[in-house]
Symmetry: C5
Subunit: 355 residues, 5 copies
């Protein structure tokens, strides 16, 4: 996973629109105009077609994928501030909400498991909330917002009559809700590592822990500002956010705080497992050393005794030269000495609690 994204060349004017790599697919934009009574959906090819939403209607322009030219045109058409526009293009922005005159600009991170690599991936979702229009820009085509689209089509009064602010809430809620399955899968993997560590720790467990730590780091880096952003949005005095919508934003904020809590808890668990692993390695080392020490300290003295009586001193020269070799009970005597050594050492080890 990329840690962060290249920004524009230092020194260029703010609002300069430029991106590093061209998008893989051409951008697609769909307009949904709806009110309590009516709903109309079209795919938008050119912005010239676009007219203001009728009175009492709300327009939702959902853009998947983007290129510089496309976004510039969009900015001109909807009078978006150049700084907001720059942040739409230069993905990798910090999660935030910024108020401009007559509009609120929101940047979100959507985390998902990349289908190809199976790794945690992230896309930036930018929302521009205006009085009767919501613009949502995503990095790639996906069915992320399909459930919201479906709820709009079903015609529920709460979402159909809630204005652009409520629609923005619904989209943010969807993005925040997607965090939980991700967190849960990380939690599951942590529990797997824990089982493995408590059973037989392997080197792979450390890599996994390290990997999980990094994923949690990236999630956390995105979630703290999310929490802050939702709080600021909820307390904003902008008229784009109605009293009722504030109540719902409090609910999403609550979920964001839960997500932060879970991330912090998971981080503590990972670091606790790292400790467990280290103590586990030390334990194994102790085991290994104990075996070596027991075997070595028993046999080294025995080997010495055997070596002693393997010396070739000439017993015929002197009565002091290894008379044991000629004793009648010489060999049994040597074996007996060895047995005593073994018994003594076993007793020593038992007293130390090593056996």
């Amino acid at each position: 996973m990329q840690l962060f994204w290249l920004r524009h060349t230092p020194g260029t004017a703010p609002g300069t629109l430029a991106i590093a790599e061209p998008p893989k697919e051409p951008p697609r934009s769909r307009l949904m105009e709806y009110g309590l009574e009516s709903l109309h959906e079209t795919e938008v090819a050119s912005f010239d077609e676009l007219s203001e939403p009728g009175p009492g209607l709300v327009g939702w322009l959902d853009v998947e994928g983007h290129d510089v030219e496309f976004i510039s045109e969009l900015g001109r058409r909807f009078s978006i501030h150049p700084l907001a526009l720059e942040d739409v293009i230069n993905v990798g922005q910090r999660v935030k909400s910024e108020e401009f005159e007559g509009s609120i600009f929101v940047v979100l991170d959507h985390f998902f498991i990349d289908g190809d690599s199976g790794a945690l991936a992230k896309e930036q979702i930018s929302l521009v909330i205006q009085s009767n229009l919501l613009l949502s820009v995503r990095e790639r085509r996906s069915d992320l917002f399909e459930p919201v689209r479906a709820r709009l089509k079903t015609g529920r009064p709460r979402i159909r009559g809630g204005g652009s602010g409520y629609l923005a809430y619904a989209l943010i809620d969807t993005v925040v809700d997607h965090l939980f399955p991700i967190l849960e899968s990380i939690g599951d993997r942590i529990l797997e590592v824990e089982d493995s560590l408590l059973d037989t720790p392997t080197r792979d467990d450390v890599s996994t822990l390290h990997h999980l730590k990094r994923e949690l780091l990236v999630l956390r880096k995105s979630m703290w500002p999310l929490r802050e952003m939702l709080n600021r949005l909820r307390q904003s005095d902008s008229e784009l956010v109605s009293e009722e919508t504030r109540l719902y934003l409090r609910d999403v904020l609550d979920h964001a705080i839960m997500a932060v809590d879970i991330v912090e808890t998971l981080r503590e668990m990972v670091s606790s497992l790292m400790d467990l692993y280290l103590s586990s390695i030390s334990n194994r080392m102790n085991e290994i050393m104990k075996v070596l020490t027991i075997i070595a300290t028993i046999f080294i003295p025995l080997s010495f005794v055997a070596g002693l009586y393997g010396m070739n001193f000439d017993a015929s020269v002197s009565p002091f030269n290894m008379p044991e070799l000629r004793w009648y009970w010489g060999y049994p005597f040597a074996l007996g000495v060895m047995a005593l050594i073994v018994i003594g050492l076993l007793g020593f080890f038992r007293r130390r609690g090593w056996l």
Copy 2:
């Protein structure tokens, strides 16, 4: 212990009521209507029977276990906000209090030792405080609130005349008080591990410490928001909480802060014990290695000397070929060399402080 609970499918409308698994027992709900003079208790089978509590009376509807349909009906009957209703169903919510028009919604965690597994378990308790009605919803049947019920029946004026706010306080106080025996049992287990560590540390101690750490992590994750929630409730300007009740809430808050302090202290003790364990392992390793080193460094040179005189050089060929073997004092000489080596090494070890 489960780390957290599955939430609803991302993208569904807020207030959608759905739960993962059906409850084990059918829900039971008991209504207690009381005033200073009277008290009447009934088991409620259907909400159609329910009428508003008479003037000057307070109704307490205590629900144990729940299913979606049941809670929906309840929500309709008592006009509970859909967001609150969703949180009642989707247990695993963060501890919090939320004010809606004319009601306060409180989520609590009740920790208990699960009878079957002996493990720490948690149930969510939701309270809805309205002007003359208190609704409490629990996950399972238990005698948690029996003492409060008994105090009501005894007819003490403070609780009988205190309104729904004071009753809510009484229930919260009961839940918070249940934290202390749990904390105490964790404290006891920590002291046991400490004794074991200071005596003879075993691998089980680490598992126990790791386990205690996780339990404290779960408790802490619930207690910090509890503290925050009680503070917010106490400072709330809602008329559902009377001046006198605020004084009592300050008292519960104080207990919650004590609980947080204790959890933090226990966490520090666990981590201090982990350090103690690691230093203890290192110490044992040192002991083991010292024994190995002493035995090995003493006998390895001895064995070499023995091996030296076990060589088969033909002494008859040359006067330089191992003349020692034919010396009169050869064998005693060799033993003497060995003795000198032993004495030298023992002196060396003593000087190093290893003996």
Copy 3:
């Protein structure tokens, strides 16, 4: 040292008075009535004797030891709020100050070295400040407040004319001042451990460090709320605390902050010593292993050479079977090979910096 104290049974009404164990001594209470001109001291047997202090006089009722009945009577006589009364009985409360109508309730921890066990012990001191009366309740008889008593008797105008608020300050100041000798003795023990660690670390040092860590944990758990409490008291708008007394409370607060600073500094020193100990163990392990490695790697090859020429191949069968054994310079040659090995290895070790 006990980590925390059993609280009342969960679910009992607030203000229920019950304690776990009966006190060892019967409570003693002494009343001191004083004004600028007069001072009168009596031992109080029954509260019926008590009358309001005369005009311009302040009464100080100092209670050492207590039982439930005694405190209940006290509470009734001085109209103390049941919540405060409960906290007086259930010692082990958090350090705090609470304002009730017409009175301030203060809980303090007094730390002392227990005479019997030599361990750090703690007693709760409760103060109830009323307009012309100060009630102080302690767990056991001691001469803690004798200096204050003496200052009152000496007749210094500042304390004699300062009202119940200033008297409360004097008692709090006394309790806070008692922290410093405790901290100093811990500091001294830390310096002793440091000396031992820098000289020859032993296993006892770790136990001592662990023990000191726990004592500091307990002290810290009490001091942070002390600081907070004194600040709140100083900024309280109660008329029980005069302008002049606030100045003095600022001084105690300052001492409390100093105590917190010292505790934090001592904690850092303990943890720094723990690190020092661990590095010290690792160092010793390195030393031990180095000795083993040097001895073993020198003699193992030598022993091999000796073993080689101890083989019994029949030299008479073939000219290739160990002709060295029959060489004229065979034995010196073998010894020379060994010497070369030793020289080579010593050079290797020196190059590595092991010698």
Copy 4:
């Protein structure tokens, strides 16, 4: 990299101008006077030439390199407060913004990779914002501000009409933007170390990690005050910062917060890698010890058996003296015993999971 810079001699009067080493190049100062319609650039040799910028024009005096005399003259000419002047000279100041009457003084750190040493280096950039004049002082000649100069020349209305405040923003933005390539290169080096650690950890990895940690420490020490400074500047009530410029400052602040986030994330990664390295070393130690233990514990008993039958007890003296040596199947029997030992130990190791 230097940790911090020598300040003036303690006790000298504030505003005393003195620097440790003379600059390498003579200072160069360039004046750019511009308005919406006109732009005029000159190299300034003496400050006597300087006249006030014409009405509606803004003057930007960009000074590269400086000496004491030069800056004193500058201070006199533009009535800069002596404290600000002292901070311009004594580079190594903390990043900050200070308001004086009629001017704002800003200190920034510009980080760059030093061309000669390839190490991270830092220069202080001081800005003095006055109503129609911006003074920027840098430590050395570089093309850092060329892009801004170019944008001014191109004649874009936003920068040409934005006043000295907007110009200051443009310079700050340029400096902040230069942080990202630095951070990215550190991030890349961290990923390289990570790859190396997960593959085959070497000692160099630790040095690199240590080095990266120090670079991040220096960056962080500069970035936290940067964040604070930009926030203060944005919320300043000075009329030198227009409403529109505040919007742009919010954008730079946002980038500074991103930079802080990235630095903190990188720091966590480095410390996580340090853990990985340590666990990796422990693992390798385990591996090494396992090999030694397996080989040693297998061969030590075998060698003992061989040594046993190498003893020279005289079998002719007694039937108990090593009769095995004369058995018909003696040698195969000994080999068999050895084989049994090997099989037994291999089984033991396999059961322990060491093979």
Copy 5:
């Protein structure tokens, strides 16, 4: 270095003046009376000589060393609050500023390298600021304030006309400036240890690191309150601090914040070096073990083979008894087997990356 100082006996009245040890030198006090036009300096033997400074003049009484009687007299003469007086005597107070009616009391720590021991030492400096008088009390005679004295004599208008507040600033600035050479010398010693650690780590490095850690702990304990104190002084609404002086206090505050930043950075470096040392020890252990393992695992099997053919089975008894000994190529065969073992093991080690 002493960790903290003995305070007065617990329970004594506030303002009681008593010190632990008598001063080494008699106190010396010098009075400097100055205005824009005049300056007069005298050594003060008795306070009876002292008269109020003339109109428009400021008096600075600088006291070096003190005893109880001297300070009591001073307190009476200048009507200093007893609490302030107590803090002047009981050195070891926390750095702080306290406002009393008509005066500000400031406590500072001056750090210096003790000439005798070469260790870091600390003296308390107390300032009492009154409308036209500044009292400074130091623990010992030194030339700390000579530069300020010199600036006064030179007759610079800023200090001569700045009042007692500006003079206090000048003294505080001098004390704060003295922190930087201390910090720099600690920084230098850290860099030395770093070099040593990256080259060949020794045990002394750990002691040095531990020592540096403690010095930084003591410095930090003093600097955090310094920062806080300067901020409070700057924002004080006392008329003793003029607008212009506030500007200068902001400058000292800035330096204090820099000092805090540097202390924190140095602390992080020390702890990073501790990690480096530990990883370095582990690395060396690995090296040592690798050498032992390689030598041992190569020679142990060889020795076994040698031992095998050193057995004394009687080949004459049976054709199975060590026929190898009589083979024509027996010895070369044995050597060949050994060579194969060596080659095999070397290959194994190379594959593991140990060679």
